[in-house]
Symmetry: C2
Subunit: 224 residues, 2 copies
DNA sequence: ACCTGAACACCGTTCAAGT
DNA sequence: ACCTGAACACCGTTCAAGT
């Protein structure tokens, strides 16, 4: 945490740094997708040699972790603590949902490095709200990890949906197409899915997601 | 579905086929991990040329989807329908949890191809139990997708935990080490996480997971 | 129809050499 | 201390040529 207290002014504007590399990686991932992040493309963007990056970052895996950590931590930083505990949980959930929706590549990363900086912060922030809600201490771990699992799971899945079709389509058309696919399923093998196809087409992922949070929160508080 | 009704006897024992390729891919993934699946290793194992595989399968992405679909569908097939709806949901959840735990590489795949064959089957099977539980039709889609998201999310995360340390450690030691790490966290920044470290060390992921299912199921039925 | 394996266009990573 | 960029050991995928 206490790195170096040296004058920031000394830094050359164009000097390479871990942060600048991570920032460029995020841009590349957002613009080109996961396959767009290569050390060659990255070094071109940073106007340096491919090997220079290795002076600041151990390898690609570490770079991906750093990039997704940055996104998650930024999203968490944007969520205040002043609202009621219930509302704060909803805000954290919505913040993550939106951040992962905007940067879908974060999803894969969160699962590759669980309990790392980013996930741990989510867990901590959620946990504090549970304390404020007077959830009994014995249920703290279970409640917090259920919520975190749900939040991350749904957010990642929602973001993945956006890439189901190639070329990508907007939400409206996406739902239309999946609904059509569901309606065309075999009547004997998929009676349930066929029936809910219309419901699916009209649903709002984000609203349903927040509904799910309320549902789990209700269960957590009630069963305490 | 109605492919070719020709005599199966005609097939040479050693002939390449989509199934044989998928089976070999699963073995490779289980033995060597995701990075172990290359077309070179695969063709060596199948005693053929690298290009031969492309006659049966379009590309690596399709191969990964086929391999993870196979694992999930097999797990679902092992779950009966005879128990009570509630119990069947638990059984499906437990079956997926165990399957993904045994084949951790499946996790990444499920998110890459959502609403594909495998996930759709999970959704359908869960949905039918909700119908049996008399959940009102209007809540069908929401309830089923909440459950599926939770089941897949937790299972994938649990499987990812197994690879947090390198070299891999057993469950006991894993929990011990994470707990130690949590206890060493900054007291001001991570008060909640520090406090639940001991709870974490003693918890049983699988049991908590099934507890979470009951919790959501209770919420689904009650709020109907 | 199905298989072979060399060839192509990429990768991540290393490292001697520079400043 | 930090950067360069060629070189190495890989990849996935294609495709002319075989049977």
């Amino acid at each position: 945490m206490a790195k170096k207290a040296t004058r920031a002014a000394e830094r050359r504007e164009d000097a390479l740094s871990r942060e600048r590399i991570v920032e460029a990686a995020i841009e590349l991932l957002d613009e080109e997708g996961e396959s767009g992040l290569t050390f060659r493309a990255l070094s071109t963007r940073l106007a340096t040699g491919a090997g220079a990056i290795y002076w600041h970052i151990a390898n690609k895996s570490e770079l991906l972790v750093a990039a997704s950590d940055a996104i998650v931590l930024r999203a968490l930083a944007d969520v205040g603590d002043r609202a009621s505990p219930r509302k704060t949980v909803r805000n954290i959930a919505a913040g993550l949902f939106d951040a992962i929706d905007a940067h879908p590549w974060v999803g894969a990363q969160l699962y590759r490095a669980p309990w790392q900086a980013a996930m741990l912060q989510v867990f901590e922030r959620i946990g504090r709200q549970l304390q404020a809600l007077k959830v009994p201490a014995a249920a703290h771990f279970r409640s917090a990890s259920t919520l975190v699992s749900y939040i991350v799971g749904v957010s990642v899945q929602n973001a993945a949906n956006g890439r189901l079709f190639d070329p990508p389509v907007d939400r409206e058309e996406f739902l239309e197409r999946v609904a059509d696919r569901w309606k065309a399923l075999d009547a004997d093998e998929y009676p349930f899915t066929r029936k809910v196809a219309t419901q699916m087409r009209k649903h709002d992922d984000r609203a349903e997601f927040l509904g799910g949070i309320d549902l789990i929160l209700a269960g957590v508080v009630r069963s305490s």
